[in-house]
Symmetry: none
Subunit: 528 residues, 2 copies
């Protein structure tokens, strides 16, 4: 075995497979940029391993590993590359070239551990399958790679032929694999049955991992049951994303281990980041967060029981299984009078602002009103800052809108977008036109055209992300649109939000606040 070099300590592995197995979720499609962003969030949380993809099977995954070498600096996690053993009758060195050269610190090799899969899907012999495992693991470890073995269909295989299933593991271990990961690939196991099998394998002295799917709604329970009987490596995905019914939700697994069993599996102080990371990953994946998700969902600690509110307030520990702050979540009492004065004050202080009590109450009301019509300030702190400044009489106005107009036209296969803005700034009235590859880009260009002479600092601002979400999708295109814009000045980034039934107007709002924030941060004086 290779010497463990991971930080955090190697005794227990939290292994994330969002970027590979999670991406199998129906409807989910992650770009390489998305994958890099998710990897950074998972590293912030402190997982031990991030499986980046299958470089041999998917060109996008190969690009991820290529770019990760220069663009991804991880503080606690190691990257893992996933791939098959050599093919039946194949050339080991040639078949494993992608894995050997991925640059990842770990290779996770997938192998069949179910004799029926060997014979009916791989169409090879039991002996050749064992040789494929042995040769592949040996080749990679000889090259200095750390190797984990994913034993696919292990549990079904064990039930069909336990001797052969375990032989697949021992062959891999003897060839140098560090961890033997038992996969419930079809997701059909129940915890009390799975635990018996995992216990038997652990009893052989092998280091065992668990990879569970949620087809019986037991993925988290199966993972915990395996750990309870001695597994020391757990695989799962952010928010439980994955094929069919999903993988084990790694966030639920981590929370239960740290909170319920007292086993520390993240670096100290990280668990409190869980809620934030869960939402950030959902945002990147463009999947609406599940409000009812255990531990991190916005409803996870929300109490509807009107009759008991005073009891809950007086003695919250009687009504929740854990203090939600532990995982970065909040208790919510679903009655409107209880909004967060302390939150607003804290946020103001973080921005260097000291709103008085009346201002705080007005801000609470406005946030409540705006969120009820679709705004979300959690993902747009710059817009929140402008709102707070406005209520304090300290919001700068660098320019004032008279009107804008956007024309998009398709003619003879060509699509053109053109925007005209009429603005007032520093005593001038300015009319400017911009073109773009879409209506919002044209509007952005027209604004820059209009303002750049008066505010040269605008040239340093770049829109780095633009997201659209339909907030209530009941009437198709009648729905309200929320636009989130992320802007960068090359040093810091900030997010602004706009909401309107018209996507262009929502975009205008977000752009206006993006530029206002940028100029504010540059210390520019407003003209009024």
């Amino acid at each position: 075995m290779t010497t463990p070099t991971t930080v955090p300590p190697d005794a227990f592995h939290v292994y994330d497979t969002t970027l590979r197995d999670g991406a199998q979720r129906e409807g989910l499609s992650l770009s390489v940029n998305d994958k890099l962003a998710i990897a950074r969030h998972l590293d912030d949380l402190g997982v031990g391993f991030i499986e980046g993809g299958w470089p041999g099977a998917n060109p996008k995954d190969a690009e991820f590993f290529r770019r990760a070498r220069t663009e991804l600096t991880l503080s606690s996690a190691q990257l893992a590359a996933f791939g098959s053993t050599r093919r039946a009758g194949g050339d080991t060195a040639q078949d494993l070239a992608h894995l050997r050269e991925s640059g990842a610190g770990v290779v996770t090799l997938v192998a069949k551990a179910d004799v029926r899969h060997v014979e009916r899907a791989l169409r090879t012999t039991r002996e050749e399958n064992l040789a494929m495992i042995r040769d592949s693991v040996a080749h990679l470890t000889a090259e200095g790679q750390r190797v984990f073995l994913d034993a696919e269909h292990f549990f079904d295989g064990y039930l069909a032929d336990p001797v052969y299933a375990v032989e697949c593991l021992t062959v891999a271990a003897e060839a140098g694999a560090d961890v033997l990961v038992l996969c419930d690939t079809n997701g059909g196991m129940l915890p009390y049955r799975l635990a018996d099998i995992v216990g038997a394998v652990v009893g052989t002295g092998l280091r065992v991992g668990i990879h569970a799917h949620n087809d019986t709604a037991c993925a988290v329970a199966n993972s915990l049951a395996a750990i309870d009987v001695g597994a020391t490596h757990v695989q799962g995905t952010a928010n439980g994303y994955g094929e069919r019914c999903g993988n084990a939700d790694l966030f639920s697994v981590i929370s239960a281990l740290e909170v319920k069993t007292g086993r520390q599996v993240l670096p100290p102080g990280r668990l409190v980041e869980l809620g934030r990371v869960a939402h950030a990953v959902a945002e990147v994946a463009n999947i609406a967060p599940d409000a009812h998700q255990p531990w991190v969902g916005s409803s996870a600690f929300a109490h509807k029981a009107g009759l008991h509110v005073s009891a809950i307030k007086a003695d919250p520990d009687l009504y929740q299984h854990v203090d939600p702050a532990v995982v970065g979540n909040d208790m919510r009492l679903l009655v409107s009078e209880l909004a967060g004065r302390a939150t607003i004050e804290l946020k103001g202080r973080a921005l260097g602002l000291e709103p008085d009590r009346d201002t705080v109450l007005r801000v609470i009301d406005r946030v409540k009103d705006l969120e009820s019509v679709g705004y979300s300030f959690e993902a747009a702190e710059a817009s929140f800052e402008l709102l707070l400044r406005e209520e304090m009489g300290e919001r700068p106005h660098f320019f004032r809108l008279e009107s804008w107009r956007v024309i998009v036209e398709s003619r003879g296969g060509e699509v053109i977008s053109e925007a005209t803005v009429k603005l007032h700034a520093k005593g001038e009235r300015i009319v400017a036109t911009g073109e773009g590859n879409g209506p919002v880009n044209a509007l952005d260009n027209a604004m820059r055209q209009a303002l750049q002479a008066l505010y040269p600092g605008l040239a340093r601002l770049e829109l780095v992300d633009y997201k659209v979400r339909i907030v209530s999708g009941e009437h198709g295109t009648d729905a309200v649109t929320r636009v989130l814009v992320e802007t960068s000045d090359g040093v810091t980034e900030w997010d602004t939000v706009g909401v309107h039934e018209n996507v262009i107007q929502a975009s205008w709002q977000a752009l206006e606040e993006a530029y206002t924030t940028g100029l504010l941060r540059q210390g520019i004086d407003a003209d009024r």
Copy 2:
């Protein structure tokens, strides 16, 4: 004890609490009509008990029981009324009048089994709490009612003071309660710990039930663990609806019991109704079905892995933990950039099309090319069908675009959108204009304006969802935009996709395919 009279036999109870505990879900609000409709669906499925509500605490629930007497004819289920024991120091007959008179066949009495709740929330003594349980159960059984006891906070109570927690149960059993239901009210238990406690209680000879919440993502596993050690009564809700993270999903519990443990808990032949009932309840509750829900979700048996499709086709049992037909669901193969020949052929066959080998290869290439620039066909099966028909020379063209133009303008605080389309259809050239609350809505209205005289069937089509995703977010508003449109004709729904750097053009593509699919399904002849 009263003589069991239920059908199915009383040996095992499937007890649904959707109408009471499920209705605590944040955002869910059920009318009395909704509750009656859900009760009928659950009875169709064959559950043994349907908890209708809390007639003493909620006037809507009292009305439910009143109307149920005349409007609800149940074939397999009995209604249960939920309520508290008498108050501390209260008059038993008076406090329980609502329950006694509800007309339900069973009363489920809730009592505190955690001494801390007795002292800190009820603010009474241990002894008075026991007297409340004893008096209330005895009163109702003397009146001829069958009584189940819901022991609230049982597990937390057992961990704090096991002797007292069990005493609450034995007092109730001695007074005539049939089933002692152990409630994990705060949802914090893990299965292997819960099973130890349930096993200990079962060992005392009491008839035990389980009521689990999903706060650790283990509600189903906790329920199954309890049954494994001897519980013979399980409570849960349709689709797992419930406060915070929800209750145990009764549908997952039933499926696991029947399919995985071979225990028949529904009347014969009913399990196949599960998928239909799950969706029907979601429809009544006005909650979008969870595609990833175990057993019944539309993705629960969907396979994305293109490389393995031929193996799945040849030997489906190797790739699914159960035949989905058993629970009224289907296997689905998803088209994606990884799709192989087998997927395309199977998809074609499902659509009644028989593409030849060359066509299939061309389709694979086009899917790959289109997905590499941002299309996603797994979420847009109607667009895939049109692509396949196009390659077979069978794609209808009901109209042809000459040009479109969209103008969006903001002036004096008002935002207006106007679209003009120039189309050719059935030998005519049509110019039409539409207004809307946004650019896409205006374009949609202009198209309808242009085409409705020639294709009156368009009036039946409604856009029910519209989604926008920025596919590669590297350059802000320069990014490519993917639009997904879901359209309904009131009977079926279909999804189409458009991709372009310009969101309006992407929307146009998705709309054009949405209408083409709708007209195709109406059997309309294309004009060329």
